[in-house]
């Protein structure tokens, strides 16, 4: 069951001398199908992250709807929508997002703990994910002891621990070297191959080789790009 966006747009009010509004994302449709990796490329400030936040249920669109498995996400109240995000969506935010009071392992288990107890299966999965992203030996460290790249990989493992149907990754390879970039992209590809719909928002061309569909975001306008381009 896919993640579908219908006519979603986002307008922000700019509070300056002359108050006006601007489109961060113009009205657009998007379909993230299970088993596929979709990449959205574009310059900084083009609206990629805003699009991802609307798809993740974190940012209410100015217009349009977002459906998870046919359910209108924004028709639910925040509690239900948050629980749905926890269960169905793995969000990999930009930048360093480790919770400093928790170890790497506790950070990774956090989404699973939020609405229930952590099973042995989840713990094993957390261990496997940490090994898969190459930081298995750092599970008992705290985020301030990790490099930027290691923190990114921790965030990726954390986003995948609940086996989400949709993975929304914002610059997931931003701080990584070539070797780790490849490892992370392979991991996201394998997650898609196991049935998840994966969206990668990036400006790195390496990602495109792992994507089934590529979109370009330019000044809030989303357009599909033929892979040969």
């Amino acid at each position: 069951m896919p993640l579908k966006a219908e006519n979603i747009s986002k307008t922000f009010i700019r509070n300056g001398k002359n108050t006006n509004s601007f489109y961060a994302v113009e009205e657009t449709d998007l379909l993230l199908e299970n088993g596929t990796v979709t990449a959205v490329v574009g310059r900084s400030g083009s609206g990629k992250t805003t699009l991802l936040n609307m798809l993740s249920g974190l940012l209410t669109p100015t217009s349009g709807k977002v459906f998870y498995d046919g359910e209108d996400v924004y028709s639910f109240d925040d509690d239900v929508r948050s629980k749905l995000r926890n269960k169905s969506v793995g969000v990999i935010p930009q930048g360093q997002t480790g919770l400093k009071s928790l170890t790497v392992y506790e950070n990774v288990l956090l989404p699973a703990e939020m609405y229930g107890s952590v099973s042995e299966e989840i713990k094993e999965r957390a261990d496997e994910l940490l090994k898969a992203v190459g930081i298995g030996s750092l599970k008992d460290e705290y985020p301030n002891e990790l490099s930027g790249g290691e923190l990114r990989r921790m965030a990726i493992a954390r986003a995948l621990v609940n086996k989400p149907s949709f993975v929304l990754a914002d610059e997931p390879t931003g701080d990584l070297d070539d070797e780790n970039t490849l490892a992370v992209l392979k991991l996201l590809r394998s997650v898609a191959d196991q049935g998840a719909a994966v969206l990668i928002v990036t400006h790195e061309k390496d990602t495109l080789t792992f994507a089934d569909k590529v979109y370009k975001m330019d000044a809030g306008k989303l357009s599909e790009v033929k892979k040969e381009e």
Partner: protein, 400 residues
């Protein structure tokens, strides 16, 4: 909630300095509220007890009492004093004054050191036949008549196993100890006028009391009950027109003390309010600053599936835990400082000072904790409002 408690606990433990600073702020607020409240309550309690113990409408003392160990020194501070007037002089001063319903004389004698106490005691002798000021509250503890050599001691006098004390070679039997009054009467000894005169005679022989006093015919003060329809102030005024005596109304004592007490209580109350407000403002500002600093952390939790209400509960749990720990710590430290320093506070304030009852103290403990939690709750409201205004999507941007 289990998840929220566990995460809040880890957040607090992992940031020990931040947590400690918050706890100290809350503790300061609780410390001030508790200590200030206890002092104000003790002053009020002391005044109430003081008024109740006076018993008489008008007190008459020799003129010299105003300069040597005056009446209010004895009543308030426990400063000992010896001053006397002959019964004949006193009777002359009171004769013909209209409005006197009852008169009872008292005899005061300062002890030399006694085994019970580190300092001198004031011994107060009263006439059981005419007394209407001491016996009514002595009866709360001792209902029988005082015999020769029997004494009743104030609450601050230590009892020994033999239950006896010796003053000027007169061995006395302690038959009761009075409840605490918070005044100088707590270090006084009460006995009959016959017993105290035996002591005074020995004191003259032992040269502790100036020769020249005929102790068998002297008294230190007269307690007067004014008849219905007469004004104590005017009775005192008439007595003051006579030679050798000075009359004061109980009302003027109580109102003088009450006025001093109101000033002190007002100043303490204002100080408590200012410190509480400052601490509350600091708590609010600190929590809002901490909340601002942690916006991205809360946004990350949102991205992982935490609802706004879950984030708010996490923040509230942390604030409640910190203010509750701070409040309890503050009250404990406040009690450790305030209670042992009772006598120091009493002597510094020079006012009747009587600790409130256990239940009043327990209520004050709850009140101080509640006042601190209110400061925490106000800061929580601001912090949660700040949190709810923030946009998780925007906070997650790398440059946010």
């Amino acid at each position: 909630m289990k998840f929220i408690f566990a995460l809040a606990r880890k957040n607090l433990i992992k940031k020990p300095y931040r947590t400690l600073a918050m706890i100290l702020l809350a503790a300061l607020a609780a410390f001030t509220v508790f200590a200030g409240s206890i002092v104000v309550l003790s002053l009020n309690n002391g005044l109430k007890s003081y008024g109740e113990r006076l018993g008489a409408d008008v007190m008459v003392v020799p003129s010299e009492a105003r300069t040597s160990g005056s009446f209010d020194d004895i009543l308030l501070q426990g400063i000992t004093g010896n001053y006397y007037i002959t019964e004949a002089q006193l009777n002359r001063a009171l004769s013909g004054v209209e409005g006197i319903e009852k008169v009872s004389t008292q005899f005061y004698l300062a002890s030399v050191t006694a085994s019970c106490c580190s300092s001198k005691l004031q011994i107060i002798g009263f006439d059981p036949e005419t007394d209407f000021t001491v016996q009514p509250w002595i009866r709360e503890r001792y209902s029988e008549s005082l015999g020769d050599g029997d004494i009743i001691v104030g609450a601050d006098i230590t009892l020994n196993s033999s239950m006896t004390l010796q003053f000027y070679n007169v061995k006395c039997k302690i038959v009761a100890r009075l409840d605490k009054t918070g005044t100088g009467l707590d270090t006084a000894v009460y006995t009959t006028i016959e017993t105290i005169r035996q002591m005074a005679e020995n004191a003259v022989i032992l040269e502790h009391l100036t020769e020249g006093y005929d102790v068998s015919t002297s008294v230190s003060a007269a307690m007067i009950k004014v008849a219905d329809g007469f004004d104590a102030q005017s009775v005192a005024g008439k007595i003051n027109g006579r030679k050798g005596v000075k009359a004061t109304t109980a009302q003027s004592y109580v109102s003088g003390v009450a006025s001093g007490l109101n000033n002190v209580a007002g100043a303490i109350g204002a100080m408590v309010a200012v410190v509480w407000l400052l601490a509350a403002a600091l708590i609010v500002v600190s929590f809002v600053m901490v909340c601002n600093e942690r916006m991205k952390e809360f946004a990350v939790l949102r991205a992982m599936g935490a609802s706004s209400s879950m984030n708010a509960k996490l923040l509230l749990t942390e604030i409640f835990a910190v203010t509750a720990i701070g409040a309890v710590t503050g009250v404990i430290f406040s009690a450790i400082v305030t209670f042992p320093l009772t006598s120091l506070i009493k002597s510094a304030l020079s006012l009747p000072y009587l600790l409130p009852s256990f239940w009043a103290i327990a209520l004050t403990v709850l009140g101080a904790i509640a006042a601190t939690l209110v400061a925490g709750a106000v800061s929580a409201l601001f912090a949660v409002a700040r949190l709810n205004r923030s946009d998780a999507g925007l906070m997650l941007r790398e440059d946010a």
